[in-house]
Symmetry: C2
Subunit: 448 residues, 2 copies
């Protein structure tokens, strides 16, 4: 995945590279990735995707074969094409660690590199940071809503393609999910895999109890039976009837899954049937169109559900599948830059975010300022790459997950609600305001 | 992309395969992919993704290395793992051609194969068909709304990962877009590539006119200048001032792009400036947060815009990023099957969709029936694979695109509206209703 073709980019990046080359523009550019505003109803975002960006930047290179293909396309000079084979990322990256909570206008990543490099990698950097941040932010809401219920990602099938499914498993796990149904995510990222059975398994049999038996006998442990194909409570009774035989044969029945109807109501009835049948240790799993609101309703209803599978609403972040984010040039050759397009103006210069905490380690307010402006609080962007090389070891995903959990614990109470809350305070420093005014004055006095 | 690892699947598929093997269940299963209901406000869907499904099924196989990794995971027997290396898709596929318009409950793909094969490939089949259908359906609305304006996909950066960006370019092109900014989509699928320049290019220069000059001089043809970085109309005047010099040097100015503010209003002012400056042939391109509603407003306002770039709302299908779709077992070993879960019941058996047209070749109504039930109209599902092999050559993407355009022309007028319309009539045949009743009776009389 880190080795995605460099042709996976917008054509304009290549057009600009050729123009930069011809104009001799290769001084250091500082680009920052930030989100302009929160999606409606959201109170915070969770940074994710940095690891894939670093892996991409470390390995990105055009192959001869890709350059050969570009030569067949209109508009590129031989000089330009020849220069592509030596192109590597040689710059610096500073970023918030994955799992960090952040807010609008706060850069979560800064790339400082020769202009052509910082420009070329724009498209894929956004593509990688945006999607995992979308999913981690959504997943974090679900984790807050689910209370004691464990959550598993079931979203691969309706994720937007292969990479989305795989990265949704990673992003939701780092944000506090317990695991994913996606097998490749277990292999690639070490995300714990979980899986039960589908309705088709039951339907392929003429008899539901026989289907349960076949499935259980194929596994020695962790047997979870899907009980809603025909009649949920009737199926729960079949499970009770079957359990002694399975236990005698050494097959451990772990749980039942309900995937349709009123989940809280079915769970209560099924719990009673299982308990009456001596199956107190058998857990109840629920799934079927769940999102953070449905999870909270299950918690509020006191539904006896141990774990939930969450699919589409997670892997597509169905209510907010995209963030209004940007990767913008903030300085070139040491001079601060600012886009002033209507409704899309940016804060110029190389920036840092300082975060203050109250006595109880709860987040108390952020300051957006320039990197060379000292301020109180903890600096949120940290050095990640220097001269094209990663600093330090690859963070382990369970460490990232622990950081995300700690961040969640530091969230002010009102932001933990699913309902929209008063915005978290992000102040803009006097130094940054002064620079902004200077950049605007310089632009206005520039020749038209 | 067709060679995605078979580990990109839900764990439960592997669990079920092991159970099928142990129970000796390998007779032919018929699974159908269909959408349960239209997203709110949508009037029709456009089938897409079949080509990637066929390529996947033709090449799908576990590698020794993948099986070796599975052996390190809990729950799989040696017998089962050994059987995986020989597993290939040997079945049949019938499907609606890509670009075909369809409606809820209508299968767009049927897989008939030994149960383990039809089961295992479920996850990736849904993953591939769902996403391109989502994007093609969204793109088709945009094409209908855009009238004479050409559309280009700018959505890679906020698409959900690499594959989503690439396949969104394909799906939107087949649904009538003119091209995509994604370079790899040009290489992989022959989608025409289009690209201009970013704000960062302008900002990296101290002077906007100088930036225009640098960019234009790096290209001999098709120069498009982005004019909204600071002051749109002022920039248009700079373009007029620069044009004679560029023309004298042989650089063809093709257009200007506006990416912010009131696009219709800016376009009118810019058109007047360009026309007054003798640049009538220079086109106006617009972009910036456009969706089908914004496109229609531009058309209604008579905005002099020649082409639009559409990004996030297309590549994430922002208002409806997922479809309520399923891939369900409809028959096993020749016996019709039906899921009866609450709110998720399905029509059993192997089905076909017959479509009638009125005298003007406008779609007049569909009939959902069983494959062995003859009916009036055109059968929409056609043979695609037999015995694991593709029938006929790979359809060319421009042929698929022509089919999608013809389908759009056959849409009843009221369904072409962006507003929700009275549903298109899809009747269920008496034969299918009879079978459904029989399947239910058989289930009710089965031993509990």
């Amino acid at each position: 995945m880190a080795h995605t073709s460099l042709l996976l980019t917008d054509l304009y990046e290549l057009n600009m590279l050729q123009a930069y080359q011809q104009a001799g523009m290769a001084e250091t550019a500082d680009f920052e990735f930030f989100v302009r505003k929160l999606p409606p109803g959201r109170n915070f975002l969770v940074a994710a995707g940095l690891e894939q960006v670093v892996a991409f930047l470390e390995s990105a290179a055009f192959t001869d074969e890709e350059i050969g293909w570009l030569a067949t396309q209109p508009g590129f000079s031989r000089t330009f094409l020849d220069s592509l084979s030596a192109l590597r990322f040689t710059g610096d990256v500073d970023a918030m660690p994955e799992g960090t909570i952040f807010f609008p206008d706060e850069p979560i990543l800064r790339v400082s590199a020769p202009l052509p490099e910082a420009q070329l990698f724009e498209t894929r950097i956004i593509n990688l940071l945006h999607f995992q941040t979308v999913v981690a932010s959504k997943a974090s809401r679900m984790v807050l809503a689910a209370g004691p219920m464990m959550l598993a990602d079931f979203g691969l099938r309706r994720a937007h393609g292969a990479e989305a499914g795989l990265l949704a498993a990673r992003a939701s796990y780092l944000a506090g999910f317990a695991g994913s149904a996606t097998v490749l995510a277990a292999r690639r990222f070490g995300v714990p895999a979980s899986g039960t059975m589908a309705h088709s398994f039951i339907q392929a049999h003429d008899d539901e109890a026989r289907a349960f038996e076949h499935f259980a006998r194929s596994r020695h442990e962790g047997v979870v039976l899907l009980i809603d194909t025909y009649d949920t409570e009737l199926a729960a009774r079949k499970v009770v009837a079957l359990a002694p035989r399975l236990a005698a044969e050494g097959h451990e029945l772990k749980g039942v899954r309900i995937d349709s109807g009123d989940l809280a109501d079915h769970a209560r009835r099924v719990r009673a049937i299982l308990d009456d049948g001596g199956l107190r240790q058998v857990q109840i799993f629920a799934s079927g169109g769940l999102d953070e609101w449905a999870l909270r309703r299950l918690v509020d209803a006191g539904a006896p559900i141990d774990a939930c599978g969450v699919g589409t609403s997670l892997s597509t972040s169905e209510d907010a599948p995209a963030l209004d984010c940007a990767y913008k040039l903030q300085a070139y050759a040491g001079r601060a830059k600012r886009k002033r397009s209507e409704g899309k103006a940016t804060w110029p210069g190389r920036k840092q975010v300082y975060r203050r905490y109250d006595a109880g380690r709860v987040m108390a307010g952020d300051l957006l300022t320039l990197v060379d402006d000292r301020a109180a609080g903890e600096a949120q962007l940290r050095p990640v790459m220097r001269g094209g090389k990663r600093l330090g070891p690859v963070p382990r995903l369970d460490e990232v997950r622990a950081h995300a959990a700690a961040e969640r614990d530091r969230l002010p109470k009102h932001l933990r609600s699913l309902e929209p809350a008063a915005p978290y305070p992000v102040a803009v420093s006097p130094a940054l305001r002064r620079l902004t005014a200077e950049v605007d004055r310089a632009a206005e006095s520039a020749p038209a």
